[in-house]
């Protein structure tokens, strides 16, 4: 008993407009005629709708295409400078603020280092607010042109106006981060878990493109997953769906930092791999260390491939996705070196029918796409819920 929502005749317009805009965005450029075909709308509707969008300069003309004996098609595209999106990556060691145009091209960027112990919410918020000012002035963009600010943070984010955050690694427990930020900026805010934001980016601009039924798996120090069904990400009742890393794959197995035992994360998370290979995790430079371990041929490496394969197999069986994308810096390192072994383990541990329906691929965006993912939250909102409210002239 869900989706019980009254529909009025204006929702039709809103929905069709969003669909048209989305189609045009992901097609790149298309003529009105193409849009008729792509959207299924009538010529009249496409004409009036594109007319509106042109007038609002949300879209623009992009040249003509020569025709064979008729009126040439005028190509249309989304105006990449109609608006901008700010994407923020809040990580353990830094706060990064980036400005993107609508094509998700980076226009400006600024980094603030965080010292290990300094994760006060207020400090982070100050960095973000300062960063917004910096990237805007660097790129010569005014606040009015910014469609919103997306922020990716570690931890669980509860949706709502306050965006309450629980982030163990930061020592944040119930921080109303949205409230904190909105005190300093009038821009619309979108806060989500960084891994989920990145999953969104991979889904829209990376290896997940075109899949309506996908799982994006992020492996770094922690391990998470974004489950997408019919184009919508699975949120769960308290917005914490996707905690894949604490799936138990060996009851009573290795202790995990979550306090449990046998979690997937305790086998394939960055620290876990190093520890199992007998390398100290006290040093800095895990990245190089991990690369060395993976290339060393330690028995722990082959095991890691198996564990990851098992974890993926569990997803294949339960969710039967069209595609699984492996991302995160550890995920990418593992995938580059061990993809055949991982696939074999996944195949051996899943049912033949769903396995055959799933393609397991590596992420394409690299491990630094959190800010892009965060900006994608803004983009999503823009594409779904673009105003469509024309001001009615009075008198």
């Amino acid at each position: 008993m869900a989706r019980l929502e009254r529909r009025t005749v204006r929702d039709v317009r809103k929905g069709n407009r969003a669909m048209l805009l989305r189609t045009l965005y992901f097609t790149g450029s298309a003529s009105r005629n193409d849009l008729i075909r792509l959207t299924g709308l009538s010529a009249a509707t496409v004409s009036t709708m594109t007319g509106d969008l042109l007038e609002e300069s949300i879209i623009m003309e992009a040249g003509q295409v020569d025709s064979d004996g008729g009126r040439p098609r005028v190509l249309l595209r989304v105006n990449p400078t109609y608006g901008y999106a700010v994407g923020v990556d809040v990580a353990e060691t830094h706060v990064r603020v980036e400005l993107f145009d609508l094509e998700m091209k980076e226009r400006a960027k600024v980094d603030y280092a965080l010292r290990p112990a300094r994760h006060d919410p207020e400090l982070v918020a100050r960095h973000i607010l300062a960063g917004i000012d910096v990237v805007l002035s660097d790129a010569g963009v005014t606040t009015g042109q910014v469609l919103g600010v997306g922020v990716g943070v570690p931890g669980i984010v509860r949706r709502g106006p306050d965006f309450v955050i629980h982030a163990k690694t930061f020592g944040w427990d119930g921080v109303p981060f949205g409230t904190l930020l909105s005190a300093g900026t009038p821009l619309p805010l979108y806060v989500d878990n960084g891994a989920k934001a990145m999953g969104q980016a991979e889904l829209w601009f990376g290896s997940g493109r075109g899949a309506g039924n996908a799982v994006i798996v992020l492996i770094g120090s922690g391990v998470g997953a974004t489950v997408v069904s019919d184009g919508a990400t699975f949120q769960g009742v308290s917005s914490s769906a996707g905690e894949w890393g604490h799936t138990k794959i060996i009851v009573g197995g290795r202790p995990c930092r979550c306090g449990g035992r046998g979690c997937l994360e305790a086998y394939i998370g960055a620290e876990a791999i190093l520890e199992r290979a007998g390398v100290s995790t006290q040093t800095t430079g895990w990245q190089e260390e991990l690369a060395r371990v993976l290339d060393s041929g330690s028995p722990a490496v082959a095991e890691t491939a198996t564990y990851l394969g098992v974890g993926l197999a569990n997803l294949v069986n339960l969710l039967n996705p069209e595609r699984i994308v492996i991302g995160g810096w550890v995920g990418l390192m593992l995938g580059e070196r061990l993809l055949p072994e991982i696939l074999q383990a996944a195949a051996e541990n899943s049912l033949a029918q769903p396995y055959a329906a799933t393609s397991i691929v590596l992420g394409r965006l690299g491990p630094d796409a959190v800010a892009l993912g965060a900006a994608t939250l803004v983009l999503r909102n823009f594409l779904d819920a673009t105003p469509a409210s024309r001001v009615t002239a009075a008198g």
Copy 2:
């Protein structure tokens, strides 16, 4: 990039009508005024819409309610004999055909025993077709009054006009069961996995009522799960989502009949429990045998609770559901005796935040609800897609 569908102004009507009908169905009875409140539609819309539905006798008046000083409200309800639904349970030992009215009250029922080796698709189809005739004539219902036939089968069913079935236990591999049946009856067909159908029933009429975000877990000889997000069941790209039983909980653990090792089913499936308790599975009467084992205090019993708890915890972490319903004959037996232990194991193996958001309860419909679930498939279609096509008077 999904749900790209053109909407026209008629879809508004269709959607609102479906919503109103659904609301009325699950409310039981309501006045037009109540419906205004419940649906959010305007008085006029509710008035015309109920007028249509009354004329088509899909709904009916159900008395008045005295008011305190005004025109009394006329109560409306769905007409339970507007149409009927046939539900079929195809199991290893029998084919059961039941007839339900729209209130899902059983009106007639017939059973056909299947001999262990006799699972030819043709035979099963003949039983079903014969059964439909029997229940219809027993209840005095004509074919024209039947809205459809829902069939629950073991195995994986691929959606589509043919309803191709892969059922290992039956030796069916790619049987186009829908084609087989539709050759013998003009009624609309809905075929799905029996466990999923039952999950649907539990969701609508059992312990899952009202939850938009739920997982229904079925434990019998096999183990499966129905994942529901926002009221829609998770199908997966090839309709085989929900194979929870072959989730690996102990890498390299007990061998499972699927050929893998360490599957959940190899620990909490009926045979698995008996085997681990040292009881032969060759005998008949597993049900009594299992009850005896569970009451015996064998160490295998406590372990079973733990394994089930771990399995549930994995679901809690990954999907963050509002509710988990435990069903299936083994699930119910376990739940009745060991629910506290199961809950404790689930709590210990899941993250605190999502666990707190989930309530884990026992199914309410008993283990024989597959036919009801199958009929629910018909009901769902009726509520979503009721005709709404008025014949336009000509000239």
